[in-house]
Point group: C2
Chain length 386, copies 2
Amino acid sequence: MAVTIEFNRQSKELIVSESESVSSLQNGHYGVMKKGIVYLFPEEALYLMDIRNAKCYDENGSELRFNDLSHFLYSRKLMARYFTYKDWRDRGLMVRGVDEARGGYGKSPIKKYPSGKFTPPKYSIEGLFFPDDLITIIDDEEVGRELYESYWLGQFGSYKAEQRGKLSKLDVYETLFMLKHCGLHPKNSTERRVKAYAKKSRPDLHYMYDVYEDWRLRGFILKTGFKFGTHFRVYFPKASPTKTGDEWVHSKHVIHVFPRSSRMLISEWARAIRVAHSVRKTFILAIPGAKRKAKAKLDFLLYHRKNGGVEVPGKDDPSFVMLSLSEEEQIGGAELAEAIEGAKKLGLDLILAISDRETSVTYYRVRRIELPGSKYEYYEIEWEQP
Amino acid sequence: MAVTIEFNRQSKELIVSESESVSSLQNGHYGVMKKGIVYLFPEEALYLMDIRNAKCYDENGSELRFNDLSHFLYSRKLMARYFTYKDWRDRGLMVRGVDEARGGYGKSPIKKYPSGKFTPPKYSIEGLFFPDDLITIIDDEEVGRELYESYWLGQFGSYKAEQRGKLSKLDVYETLFMLKHCGLHPKNSTERRVKAYAKKSRPDLHYMYDVYEDWRLRGFILKTGFKFGTHFRVYFPKASPTKTGDEWVHSKHVIHVFPRSSRMLISEWARAIRVAHSVRKTFILAIPGAKRKAKAKLDFLLYHRKNGGVEVPGKDDPSFVMLSLSEEEQIGGAELAEAIEGAKKLGLDLILAISDRETSVTYYRVRRIELPGSKYEYYEIEWEQP
C-alpha cells in the first residue's frame, strides 16, 4: 500500500501516521519516530513520492505533487541533495541527515607517504631563460647531464632519448627551484622576473611552485603531468631517469593543485580526475593557500555495505559523509577544504557526489594523506562505485 | 664532418659556405640556397648545433654556443618553435618556414555532417526551475515521458532506468530551449531569470546555449558530456533513448565550446581532448562568438610521409601547417580561430603542436566540419602521431 504523507504548511512538517505505513517506513530507515508518528526529511518525502508512489496532502486535504511540495520546501541545492540521496537509496543503501552525526567514528585513517630528505646540490650555473616559453636552457653539457642523471632536474637531450642533443631544459618550477636552492644564474633574468613572466599565463604560479618545492624537498621527483591532464606527475624517492628495464619505476601518482582562493566548475574539476583515472594514476589533490572562511554544509551520512548485508542506521556507524554537488555549479578550494575538515571532525572520509545534467551520480572519495613535515594538506581522490 | 655556421651580428644572417657542408644541407632540405651559399633559418641553425654538432662563429671568429645564439636571435616563442621544429625533424620528416607557402594546396577538405530539420513540438507545460541546481522538473508524467521518448528532451525516470520514477528533469540548455521553442512555463521563473542564474556559475552560458540550439535545430540530440569530460555528447539525427539492443546507437562525438572571447591554458585545453580520446569519441570544437581581431602567426609548413618515402620541399606540397605552442601558455578562442582561418587560406589542415615542460611534443590535427545551415564553425580535433 502506498504511503500517505501529511504536510503542514505552517510548521513544514512531513508526517506519516497510518500504522502500516509507519512500520514500513521504520523498516526502511526513513524519518524519525516520535509517539507512533514518523517525521520525514524533505528528501525522504520527495523520494517516497517519486519512487514509491506515496501521496502527499496538506492540512486542507489538497493533494500536493512533487513540484508543489518542492516549492514549499525550497532550500539551496535541494535537487542536488535530492538526486544524490535518491541515487544512494536506489542502490539499496541507507542514508540519513548529517545532523544525526554523533562523531568520533574513527573511519578516516591517514595514509602516510614515505619521505626522504633532499639536499639540493650547489652549483654555479649559467642558463638562458625564455620568458614566452617559460623554459631555461643550460648549454653546459656536463652540468646539464649531471643535473638530469643525479637529480632528474631538467630534461637532458631529448625526451625518452637522452643521447639525442646536449642541452638541458628546465621547466619554470625547476628554474625557480634551482634559482633558489642550486645556484642557477640565468644570464638574462632573476627570480623576481621569472615569477613575473610566469604569472602572466599562470596567476596561481606561487601555489604551483610551493607544492612543487614541498614534494621536491622531501625527495620526490615531480615532472610535468601534461600527458595525464594534470599539473605534475610524481616519482617516489630514489627514482631516477637512468634506471632501465626492471629497475625503472613508473610514476603512479599525479598532483593537481587547487588553491583555496580559486574557484572552478565542478565539471572542470572532475575532468582532471577523469584523465588520471583513465591512465590508472592515483590522483592527489593539493589545496595550498592560507585558511579562509568558507561555508560548506555537509549533506548526508552514508551507510555502506558490510559483510553479509548493509550497514543500518542506529545499529552500525555510517561509513562516509557526503557533500552533494551538481555538474554546473562552482566549487572553491576553501569550500572543499572546509568540507574535508568537517568530515575529518566526524572521523569519516568525505564522499563528493556529483549529480550531472541527466541526474546520473558520480562519487569521489577523499582520503587524507600525510606527507611528513609538510605544512600543506594533500588528499587522494578516488572514483568510487558504491 | 660537422657543419660550420657563420653568424653576422649586424644582419643576423646565418650562413654556411663550405662546399661539403652546403651540399649536405641541401640534401637535408635546410635553408635557402643563394649563389652557392646556404642561408639558414634560426631554428635550423639551432637544430644543427644541438643535434648535428654544428659549430657557430661570429664575424670576429668567436664561437657561439646555443644560448649565445638564441640570445641574439631572440624572438617571441623561439623555444616553442624550436622544440616543435626539432620534434618533426627528429621523425625524419621535413619542415620549412611558413613564409614559403604559395597556397592553394587543396589539402583541407571539409567534412560534411548529416543534417535533419527538427521542428520543436508545441506544448503548454508547467515546470519548476531550481536556480542553484540549474534544473527544471516536470511532474506531469505523461508529458515528461513523451518529451523523453519522442524527442529525448529531459531525463525521464532515472538515468538508464526510465521506469524508475515518474519525473522529467530538464537541464539548463533543455530548459532554455523549451522556454523558447516548446511552450515551457516554469511556474517560478522566466527565460531572463533562468539565464541570469545560470550565468552566475557559467558566464559563457549564452555561447553554450547557442551551440546547443544550433545542433538541436538540425536534428542532433545533445546531452551532457560530463562522463566524457566535455560539455555535450552528441547523437546523430534519428537517435532515440527508446531504441534498445542492436537498434541502440552510441554517441560517438562530443562537443567542447571554446568561445572566441575566452582564454585558457594550453594544458587545460588539451585535457579536454585527452578525455574524449581515452573514451574513443570524436572531439568537436565549437568556436562561437563574433569575429574579433587576433594575432596568430602560423609557424611551419610540415611535410609528411607519402607512398614509399617522405614528402620533399620543392617537389611535393606540404601536408599541414603548424602552430607551435607550449604547455604553460594561454590561448584565446579568437587566436585559435584566426590560425584555423590562416590554414584554410593555404588549403592545409592546421596542426597544433604542443611542447610540454619536458619538450615532448603532442600533435593535434584540426579538420573543418560543415554543419549545413549553421552560422558557426566547428572542427574535429584529432590526436595525431606523425
